[in-house]
Amino acid sequence: MNPPVGTPFFFYLLSATVLIGGVLVITRKNAVHSALALITALLAQAGLYLMLYAPFVAGVQIILYAGGIMVLFLFVIMLISIERSQKERQFNKQWLVGIAAAAALGGLFIAVYTKGKSLFPEGSLTYAEAGNTQGVADLLYSQHSGIYMFAFEIASLLLLVAIIGAVVMAKKRI
């Protein structure tokens, strides 16, 4: 198999998209713009997953996040009128403290990564993506190596609870 071409270029392109998207999410006044920025970020991140040889996660990211969750968000944004909230303050009273706390956290991250830089030494590695889906499925369902089978069932239960919870919350009369 030939080595992938232009990996650093795509990495930086997609990273930039993700970060710009993230910044737009938290700064836009209009929630629809935020949502569109988030979708862009999510799709770029799906590209990053592909670069990390995780096509299945990328596919799930696209179909579930971009195609499912974000449609839900848009739907809700359209249901609730937001004209009023656009003219109001966008940030709460503690914004300064919040940014300070986040900055402190960021500082710590920098400290940690400088300290532990040598922990992840290798450069670009190439692995087969051919068996990725099958491998994930093996971990989830296989009789012998399916160590996440129970977790999978729990996740399905969680989804069921979420369905019921969402209906109970959102419906006027049940």
Partner: protein, 111 residues
């Protein structure tokens, strides 16, 4: 420049950290509940990115079946779906009662 051209796991971790911080800032400072929820999605995605990056790292050590990080990422996406559904459900109930989507106007929990 050499470090820039070799994309290592650390690159992804740094990106993840940055995304995480963006999400944290969004959660801590925005008033609009919808955007707060979206910021939570950002946080979850940052975590996912790290997990998938770790998964590749472990694949380099243990072979191509070490996909645990990806499985975790899938579980987190599942959780995100559940969280979004319930969160938006609460949001609609909230909006119906108070005609607002500002999170700092809700402090009934205090009493």
């Amino acid at each position: 420049m050499e470090a820039m051209l070799h994309i290592t796991t650390l690159h992804y971790l740094v990106l993840g950290a940055a995304l995480f911080l963006l999400g944290v800032i969004g959660v801590l400072t925005r008033r609009n509940v919808v955007i707060v929820l979206m910021s939570i999605e950002l946080i979850l995605n940052a975590v996912n990115l790290n997990l998938v990056a770790f998964s590749r790292y472990w694949q380099g050590i243990h072979g191509s079946t070490a996909l645990h990080g990806q499985v975790f990422a899938i579980f987190i996406i599942t959780d995100a779906a559940a969280e979004a559904a319930v969160g938006l459900g609460i949001l609609i109930a909230f909006f119906r009662n108070k005609e607002t989507v500002n999170v700092d106007e809700v402090n009934l929990l205090k009493w």
